[in-house]
Amino acid sequence: MNHLISIDDLDRAGIERILDRAESFAEVSGRDIKKVPALRGRTIVNLFYEASTRTSSSFELAAKRLSADVVSIRSAGSSVDKGESLRDTVQTLSAYDPAAIVIRSPYAGAAQLVARWTDAAVINAGDGKHEHPTQALLDVFTLRQRLGSLEDLNIWIVGDVLHSRVARSDILAFQRMGASVTVCGPPTLLPRGIEALGCAASPTLDGISEADVIYVLRMQHERMQESFVPSLREYAERYQIGLGRLQPNQLLMHPGPVNRGVELSADAIDSPQALIGQQVKAGVAVRMAVLYELLAGRPAAHMAVAA
C-alpha cells in the first residue's frame, strides 16, 4: 500500500495489522517521553484546506511522536483551494522531498489527485463528501478496545449520511470487520443507492433498539446549500438520540464536533455509554500506526535510486 485514500485500500488483515500496532503506539502515548525514533529524519506535510481541530492536531502529534519533521499548512479561506493551484502547491511542497502528504480538502477526489502529482505517500484526511479513512480506523479501534471484536455487531449510523465522508468510510470499515450496518436519516439526507455499499437504509428509527452501537453523524450545515430538513427542531424531534432513545446496553459514538441539542442530547453526550472521548483519544495512536504502515520500510525517493 502506497497511499491511504479510501478504506478500500485495506483488506481486513491490513486493518487488523494497523490497529494492533496502534495498541503499541497507545502505550507510547502513556510514557513520560511520548516519542519513538521510528520516522526520524522524515518530513511529513499536513495540508488542510478545511477547518479541523481533531484530525489536524492528532496528525501533527502522531508525526511528532514518531520523530518526523512536520510542516502544517492551513489555507482555509485563501485563494489556493482551486484546482490548478492545489497542483502547484503540491508540486512546490514536493520539492522538500516529503515522505508523506496528509491532505484534507472540501473536494471529493482531491487526495487521489495529489497522489498523482507527488512521490510522497498520500493520506486522505477527508475529501469532501467522499471518505475519511483514518476516522473509520479509529472508530473500529475504539469499538475493538471496548468489545474485543466487531464480528456480528449491529451498527446503526444515524443522521446526515448524504454529506458525510465519515459515514462512507465507516460503512466500508465496519462491514469489512464483520459488522452489519444500517444507515438511518430523513430521506433527503440518505444518498440514493447507498445500499450498493452493502448496508441497509431506513428513513425512521424503527428497529434501532436492536442495535449494539449507534453512530450519530453531525448535521453538516456548512455543506448544505438548500434546506434538507424543515427545521433543526423538527429534525431533533424525529432523529435526535437522547437517553430516552438509548437502550441501556447500547454504545454511542460521534465523530465530533457535536451540535449539542441537534443530533445528540446533552445528557446522551455525557453518559457513560458514549465513546466520544475514547474516539478522540484513539486518534493519535491510530494515525501513528497509519504513518508507520505507509512509511516504515519505504525508502526516501533518493534512496530508492541507490538501492
Binding site: 495489522r17 494492533d20 500496532r21 503499541s24 517521553i33 525514533p37 516504515a296 525508502p299
Partner: protein, 191 residues
C-alpha cells in the same frame, strides 16, 4: 531440521539460565544502591527474561521488577527492509516500574551484531535514567558491529556469518533447544 546441530538441549538451557541467575545476583548484591530489574527483548528474550525473573526472585528480596521492550520502533534498518516485510508486527513494550536508579539487566536470546541491544538501550533511556545497564544472553555468536559486550553469557558459539542460530522455547515454539545450522529458516533476521 536435520542439518542443524544441537548445542543446548532442554536440560542444558535450564542449567545455563540457573547459572546466569546466580551470576546476576552475585554481581548485584542486594543492599547496594541500584536494585536490579530484568527487561526482556521481545519475543524470545522476553520468554527468557520471565524465567530469569522467577529464578532471581527466589534468590533475593524484595521481588525483582520485570519488563519487556519491543524495539521495532527503534530499529536502525526500518528504511532498508524488504517492503513486503517492511513493517514488522510489534509486541508490547511494558516497563511499569520506575527505571531511574535501577540496574537494568537486558535479556535476549542471541547476541549477534549488537544492533538490537543498541535499540533496546535507547528505548529504556526514553523511560528514565538507569544506574547501570547490563546484558544477559543465552548465546553469543560473535560478529559484533557495535562496541557492545555481554555481562552474562550462556554459551559462546563461534559461527560463520551465513550460519543461523535458532533458539526454540516451549512458550513460542513448543519445544526447547538451541541449534546451529546453515542459513535461513524463515525467521525474522536479528537486528
Amino acid at each position: 531440521m536435520s542439518p542443524n546441530t544441537v548445542v543446548l538441549d532442554r536440560d542444558g538451557m535450564r542449567r545455563t539460565l540457573v547459572r546466569i541467575a546466580h551470576e546476576i545476583v552475585e554481581k548485584n548484591p542486594p543492599g547496594e544502591p541500584g536494585q536490579i530489574a530484568i527487561v526482556g527483548i521481545q519475543r524470545r528474550g522476553a520468554v527468557l527474561a520471565r524465567r530469569l525473573h522467577t529464578l532471581t526472585s527466589e534468590l533475593i528480596e524484595p521481588t525483582v521488577p520485570l519488563g519487556f521492550v519491543d524495539i521495532s520502533f527503534y530499529r536502525d534498518d526500518l528504511r532498508l527492509r524488504d517492503p513486503s516485510n517492511a513493517a514488522p508486527v510489534v509486541h508490547a513494550t511494558q516497563l511499569d516500574f520506575p527505571v531511574d536508579g535501577r540496574a537494568i539487566v537486558i535479556v535476549d536470546d542471541v547476541l549477534y551484531t549488537g544492533r538490537t541491544v543498541r535499540a533496546a538501550i535507547d528505548e529504556i533511556f526514553d523511560f528514565g535514567r538507569p544506574a547501570r545497564v547490563q546484558l544477559a544472553v543465552l548465546v553469543d555468536r560473535g560478529h559484533r558491529e557495535l562496541p557492545i559486550r555481554p555481562d552474562y553469557v550462556g554459551k559462546n558459539l563461534p559461527t560463520a556469518q551465513d550460519q543461523r542460530v535458532n533458539v526454540r522455547v516451549e512458550e513460542i515454539d513448543g519445544f526447547e533447544e538451541v541449534t546451529i545450522g546453515p542459513a535461513a529458516e524463515p525467521r525474522r533476521q536479528a537486528a
